[in-house]
């Protein structure tokens, strides 16, 4: 238990240390980050070994009692978790090292490493969780770190807007996710995966579909699937290494992990799987199309990530949990590689626009060739890891006879190869654009090399790699479908060829092509990302702002009206009371006074001082008294 808990806790410790130290840590923040991630990596390796030899293990404990129900929490390590642990810790380590160079001299250097550590901790604990509750908590913390990192350079307007957008859009997905978790707890009474899956077998199919769709909402948000993909391109405003870690390799993969982890539930619902695959297909194809016309190198990679995540979803939707996870693993490494590579280029050229780049292969060889290898992996070229993982997905789709989705996947593969070729040829070959670019420092190039090695290595182990992975995850490995393999290779190669022709050989006059009406129209549509952002802005945000205006109006007019009205009423009442007090009450009191005084003034004349008048009064009164007594006596006795 401790071993598992320590993995994320080391990074939490790093966060605490760096936050407490503050600016004093400007010189040594990276050491703290790297050491802790290294520790987590070591423990991850140990965990992996233990799972490989001894099988999965977990530890659950009771956390809190709510009435009659007890909520259990706990950590687990099974093959899926072990793989994720390795991926996360390696990529995080690479990013931590790389950032020494990239973020050198930044004002808030310590804060950068602090958030980086916190994020790593959250992601690690996400995969270690054995229950939905802890998973959700880690999910949210990751969302927070994403927000903090995107908006790291918050002086820039695009940065803080992007971070808000990311947070809010993923939040929309998280609402669905939350509802799913609540539904799970309501129907099964527990959050723990094992118990939930047991209980699920007895539940109504409709209920399972509902729950899985809710859970998928979270995945749509976090993994930038259509229609909640809009935040990812904007998130490129953050520092590139952070983008590499969060928005390429790990955090966005969390959605995929969620579906994979909940696979026993998804398997029970054909509908959900179909939805997952369909959304994956739409995302993959749409994003690939947009990537073709992007001018910002990071945006290309962003859309590429969205597209690849779509592929992972397609794999999962085809019922192959292995395919999706394998692609996640390989993608994590080569995408991180590509991002860090682009960071290197940006660092050298001080611009993100590919039109400012050109012929960099001469000045930055390491960056160039690592980037190219990464691109080839992404395009799915044998014998790199990307080929195998993409192949698995296509094979799964083929087996399940999901033709339209397969078609979309193949078209997407063509486009993927094409746009990556475009980037490579434009950036690294061709005419130099006349700047003093130079290769990046070692701290930046070494991680690139390491990631390249992993990318190649995962592929080199070829059959063994995929086989091993498949067996490790508990499935039966299938022989490679030659038809699929050859077909996808052909598609990829043709994509690269077209790219070569257009952008390197200039065989197709790009200028003329671009002026074609159809092309211009298509370009506009794609550059506008199918108008989705504007749609959201107008309908969703606009409606919300109208609602806010209404609330403001309501508050001003109705609420204030009531308050002011109450005040006015009180004032009127007060004045009335005042008038009442002055005139009536005082009137009575004064009146009494006057009456007494008046009576006194008149009565004093009775004090004549004369004996006989007194005597007269006396006898007069005596007579009255006698009469009164007589009357009483006559009436009926005294």
């Amino acid at each position: 238990m401790l071993q598992l808990a320590l993995i994320p806790l080391l990074c939490v410790a790093s966060f605490i240390v760096l936050v407490t130290a503050g600016r004093r840590a400007r010189e040594w923040a990276h050491y703290v980050g790297i050491v802790t991630v290294l520790g987590s990596f070591g423990l991850s390796v140990a965990t992996f070994a233990r799972v490989m030899s001894g099988g999965p293990f977990s530890h659950t404990f009771a956390w809190v009692k709510l009435g009659s129900k007890t909520i259990q929490l706990g950590l687990q390590a099974d093959p899926l978790t072990a793989v994720m642990l390795l991926v996360i810790s390696i990529v995080s380590l690479m990013v931590n090292v790389y950032s020494i160079g990239y973020m050198h001299g930044d004002e808030r250097y310590h804060w950068y490493y602090a958030v980086l550590s916190l994020f790593t901790a959250a992601m690690l604990s996400l995969v270690l969780a054995n229950n939905y509750l802890l998973m959700y908590m880690s999910w949210e913390i990751m969302g927070l770190c994403s927000y903090l990192l995107i908006g790291f350079w918050f002086e820039k307007e695009e940065a803080y807007n992007a971070s808000k957008k990311a947070f809010l859009v993923t939040r929309v997905g998280d609402v669905g996710f939350g509802l799913g978790i609540i539904a799970i707890f309501a129907t099964t009474g527990t959050f723990v995966f094992r118990d939930v899956f047991h209980a699920a077998e007895g539940m109504a199919p409709a209920l399972i579909t509902l729950i899985t769709l809710f859970l998928f909402c979270g995945a749509i948000g976090k993994s930038a699937q259509f229609p909640l993909h809009v935040w990812l391109p904007d998130a490129m405003a953050g520092p590139t290494p952070a983008s590499a870690l969060i928005h390429a390799a790990t955090m966005v993969a969390a959605g995929v992990y969620l579906v994979a982890r909940s696979f026993p539930l998804f398997e029970l619902s054909e509908t959900s799987l179909a939805v997952v695959a369909t959304i994956g297909a739409i995302t993959a194809l749409g994003a690939a199309l947009i990537a073709v016309v992007q001018l910002d190198i990071k945006k290309v990679l962003a859309y590429s990530t969205i597209s690849q995540l779509g592929y992972m979803m397609m794999g999962l939707g085809a019922g192959s949990y292995v395919a999706g996870m394998w692609h996640l693993t390989t993608h994590a490494f080569f995408k991180a590689l590509l991002f860090l590579g682009s960071g290197s280029v940006i660092h050298a050229v001080h611009s993100q626009d590919i039109r400012d780049m050109g012929g960099l292969s001469k000045k930055m060889p390491i960056t160039t060739w690592t980037f190219i290898i990464g691109s080839l992996a992404l395009a799915g070229i044998f014998p790199l890891s990307g080929f195998f993982s993409k192949d698995e997905i296509l094979a799964a789709l083929y087996h399940k006879h999901m033709w339209p989705i397969l078609g979309a996947a193949i078209l997407g593969a063509f486009l993927t190869a094409f746009y990556m070729a475009r980037v490579c040829f434009v950036v690294f070959f061709g005419r130099e654009k006349g700047h003093h670019a130079h290769e990046s420092p070692l701290v930046m190039t070494v991680p690139l090399v390491i990631l390249t090695a992993i990318t190649v290595g995962l592929g080199l182990d070829a059959r063994l790699g995929a086989h091993f992975f498949t067996e490790f995850l508990g499935e039966h490995p299938e022989p490679i479908n030659l038809m699929i393999a050859l077909g996808s290779t052909a598609v990829a190669l043709s994509g690269i060829a077209v790219g070569w022709l257009v952008y390197h050989r200039r065989a197709i006059p790009l200028g003329t092509v671009k002026k074609q009406r159809l092309v211009m129209y298509a370009t506009t549509v794609l550059r506008n990302k199918f108008g989705l952002d504007e749609l959201y802005e107008h309908y969703v945000v606009g409606a919300f702002i109208k609602f806010c205006d209404f609330c403001a109006w309501f508050d001003r007019t109705v609420v204030d009206g009531i308050v002011n009205g109450a005040a006015s009423v009180t004032l009127v009442a007060a004045r009335a009371a005042g008038w009442f007090d002055t005139h009536i009450v005082d009137g009575i009191v004064n009146g009494l006074g006057f009456v007494v005084m008046g009576a006194g003034k008149r009565l004093r004349y009775a004090q004549t001082g004369r004996l006989q008048s007194y005597a007269q009064w006396m006898y007069g009164t005596l007579i009255v008294i006698i009469l009164f007594i007589l009357w009483l006596t006559l009436r009926g006795g005294l």
């Binding site: 004093r604 006989q612 007269q616």
Partner: protein
């Protein structure tokens, strides 16, 4: 007509009221004293009449009348002494003038 108690009672009541009238309306202090004497006498007549008719065996009323006489005599003496005193102060015995206790 037979002489009854009622005759005496009426008689004394009338006499008393005449004395009262004088006591309340006379200007001279001495005249007032004289009317007071009249009232005392009326009372005496009343008492003695009652003694004669209601308690003939133990003529209680007469004793009362004796004491009334004594007290009335004392009262006249003192009253007239006061009148003299007032006369010395204000050179008048008109009761209208003796109004030191007025408002």
């Amino acid at each position: 007509m037979e002489l009854t108690l009622n005759h005496y009672l009426t008689f004394s009541a009338v006499l008393f009221c005449m004395g009262l009238y004088g006591a309340l309306s006379k200007r001279s202090a001495i005249a007032v004293m004289m009317c007071l004497e009249l009232m005392a006498n009326a009372v005496n007549i009343n008492l003695i009449a009652l003694a004669r008719y209601v308690t003939p065996g133990t003529i209680k009323g007469q004793f009362f009348a004796i004491f009334v006489m004594v007290v009335a005599a004392a009262e006249v003496g003192l009253g007239l002494a006061i009148v003299l005193s007032i006369y010395r102060q204000k050179s008048t015995i008109e009761l209208n003038q003796v109004n030191l206790m007025k408002w």
